[in-house]
Symmetry: C2
Subunit: 475 residues, 2 copies
């Protein structure tokens, strides 16, 4: 049996799950429904004997999150392609197909979003196996989820013939329906939810683009030809990629192609497309009393059909007399919305962005290739940060014009360079970095190094930095 190369699309920004999902660290990387991130769960679901190592498509901002999360999950990818700019799924999928075709045009690719929930990985794997024969025969295979409710938030796939046959040719794509149409389709039995998962050979997909969206071929070929390798990433060239239209694979190719088949998938699936889906998902695990889904830090008093969620370990959430509502609290932002307005959460992001609130797109915690940091307090002329450095990682060699820094190691051991002096600083030791000194912090150890940094100075912006040397090739 041919093995299948999973292609994980993970460049999205998930604004409908704000404030837990933000552009700087979107939902696919967050542990939304368990200990693993959705991205990790997706990568693990598509690993094992059925699959070759995955190809990941992401953007420059997420590249270190991707490598860190794959390493955590114990997965070695076949490659990580960096899109120079988000242009929706059409160029990304074509880039994957062209990239793979250079080695083996008959290789099978399974394109999947990295933010869906599919609890039964083995059942999904058997569905993939059903698709292999038609895919090898030149069909593009799409996976249709058997609907369990008259959902108006998804597109549908209309199958040829009576319901139940799988794989079966696809008759047509159906746009998100109104409630009545959704009801009719649910009863008809030959309409499935379009999950945006596709199985095909590299050759078939390239041919499909050639037939239906040929304008993508040359620019994406060029992006691959001029790609640069950088710390294990394959960075697609920005030109002419950036001139490509923002287009989904459905619009560009699938809705026009005649060689589509559908594999029916009847097990549980969710796209976690909004907080209402998260709420529904939690109830599918365990029916909730009066429809209340509340975590250990949330208290519902006389509430019905509510999601109460606290994503900060020191944040209590209390709802009193609420009906059909969602409350999501993080360290720095709270969303309260009518459950029926779940799709409008992106309006919150737009509104916050328009008035310059950081919370629209980024978190207090900032992920970097070497680890992460967060501001604990920002004062008049001081700032306190917690800095966590991965084992073996190093920050850039740098200096500041406006600030001095006190470093206190509270876990692990740091190797610290200050001008021409190098010292080991371990738990409960501190070191002072005077204003202007050229300095670097490294973790030479085997466990994460945690350090408290107290900055003092009149200007404490992240841009007061002169970098002399950086192992992560940042300018």
């Amino acid at each position: 049996m041919s093995s299948v190369i999973p292609v994980l699309l993970s460049g999205g920004s998930g604004t409908r799950l704000w404030p837990v999902s933000r552009k700087s660290f979107p939902k696919q990387f967050a542990p939304l429904t368990g200990d693993q991130s959705l991205f990790q769960a997706s990568a693990l679901r598509l690993s094992g004997p059925r699959y070759a190592p995955p190809l990941v498509l992401t953007n420059a901002d997420f590249r270190f999150i991707v490598t860190e999360q794959l390493a955590d999950a114990g997965i070695t990818p076949a490659g990580i392609l960096i899109e120079p700019a988000g242009r929706n799924t059409a160029p990304a999928i074509l880039a994957a197909a062209l990239h793979v075709a250079r080695e083996n045009p008959d290789a099978l690719l399974l394109v999947a979003p990295s933010d869906h929930v599919v609890p039964d990985a083995d059942a999904f794997g058997r569905a993939v196996e059903q698709g292999i024969a038609p895919a090898l025969a030149g069909r593009i295979v799409t996976f249709g989820i058997e609907p369990t409710r008259p959902e108006t938030g998804y597109g549908y796939l209309e199958c040829e013939g009576a319901g139940g046959i799988s794989p079966t040719p696809l008759r047509r794509f159906v746009e998100k329906p109104d409630a009545a149409t959704a009801e009719t389709m649910l009863k008809a039995g030959n309409f499935l939810w379009n999950a945006g998962i596709f199985l095909f050979t590299a050759r078939s997909m390239i041919e499909a683009f050639r037939a239906h969206a040929p304008e993508f071929l040359a620019p994406v070929e060029a992006a691959l030809d001029d790609a640069t390798r950088d710390l294990g990433f394959l960075r697609l060239a920005p030109q002419p990629w950036q001139t490509l239209p923002d287009l989904s694979i459905d619009y560009a190719v699938m809705e026009k192609a005649a060689n589509l088949s559908v594999v029916r998938f009847a097990e549980h699936w969710s796209d976690l497309g909004g907080w209402d889906a998260i709420w529904r998902e939690a109830q599918s695990d365990r029916p909730a009393w009066r429809g209340v889904v509340a975590d250990a830090r949330s208290t519902a008093i006389d509430c019905d059909d509510v999601l109460l969620r606290s994503d900060d370990e020191d944040m209590e959430v209390v709802g009193i007399g609420l009906k059909n509502m969602m409350v999501v609290a993080t360290r720095d932002a709270v969303l309260v919305a009518d459950m029926d307005r779940a799709q409008d959460v992106r309006q919150a992001v737009t509104a916050l962005k328009s008035r310059g609130a950081r919370q629209a797109e980024s978190f207090r915690r900032d992920h970097r290739p070497w680890g992460w940091f967060e501001t604990l307090v920002m004062g008049e002329r001081f700032q306190v940060k917690r800095i966590v450095v991965h084992p073996g990682a190093a920050l850039s060699l740098q200096s500041h014009v406006h600030r001095a820094e006190h470093w206190i190691v509270v876990s692990g051991t740091a190797r610290v360079t200050v001008d021409d002096k190098v010292s080991l600083v371990t738990e409960n030791q501190s070191i002072y970095v005077p204003l202007g000194a050229v300095h670097r912090m490294e973790n030479p150890g085997k466990v994460p190094m945690v350090l408290i940094e107290v900055q003092t100075g009149v200007y404490l912006g992240e841009d007061d930095i002169i970098r002399y040397d950086d192992v992560y090739a940042r300018s």
Copy 2:
């Protein structure tokens, strides 16, 4: 004209305004509606030529908050009486009357809660003036607020004669009415809201207790006889005070006394008795579009009749599609409730208390006589605190068994004792306090001293402290 001694009652715990008001720092001390706290605003309203310096009644937990806030407001009190235990208003008011009577039984006392809003202080002062003659003639004068709506949340005062005459004898107290009764009383014109504000001579109040609640006299006398002076506070003796019943002045005396008069007050007044009152209050300042009251960190999208409030400078609040709701977010707790459930917010406090959540009663910021501190982050074996010390203040001389401390001064100057060494540590300097060292931190300067403390150790509880010496007489 006789001057009036304001008696500020400020021992309450304000649970209906949780999470901004908590037992450890209740609403009267919080800047709920402006820069000043309600307590400060109340003290200032009752200062000036009409009034003598105030007498404050509070409890031991709030004593340093009271002195700090009075000092900030530039007010020197006549005395601060510490109640050994909260026993409602009856014993507190009797203690004030007996205390004042020892110097001058004919002195006029104006008892007022310290958590009400009365924007027009001069109008209120004129109302007080109207009450002076009857009070000197032996009447107990109560102040009735002219009702502006059929409120069911307040008690009422029924005045003798037709509406509009002031002062006028009181016919009777009316318990919180149902909606229909409230409507009838609003139309009748001779019913006023009971604001819990009273003017009387010390002698009259003592006589009223002797006539209607004589069982209070001996225990309260004893509490005063055995009171101790401590750093300027008069601490009432705990026995037999603690055996007193928990009773309001209304129940103990007012509802039985026949010598009551009412002064009508027609200007704006609010008891800020719940978040619905805060919401209403904000609209009385400036009518809100679609009833939305939102602060600078809150965003309302398609909301009607909502209060959206963020009490943390780094917290964004977004409401989508909400109607008749209140959302109050702080650094560590979020309340979301139907506006009609404002009185049930105390249930939130009860629920959190029953499962041991700190947020039920206390804040991250902990006020102490020397200033305050807050935990910025609590880690596996470390904790980072921000500590602010008032000019001239000093922490106790202490040592710890389980932790070492790194101190970095980020504002002002500290005088630091570590064992037998005393040093001045100023901005951008640090000092290390080894485990077991006897140490003290003082602010010898003229500006607040701000210090970042990084603790390391296996146990970091506040109770790992041996105190050798404390200027605030804490054990």
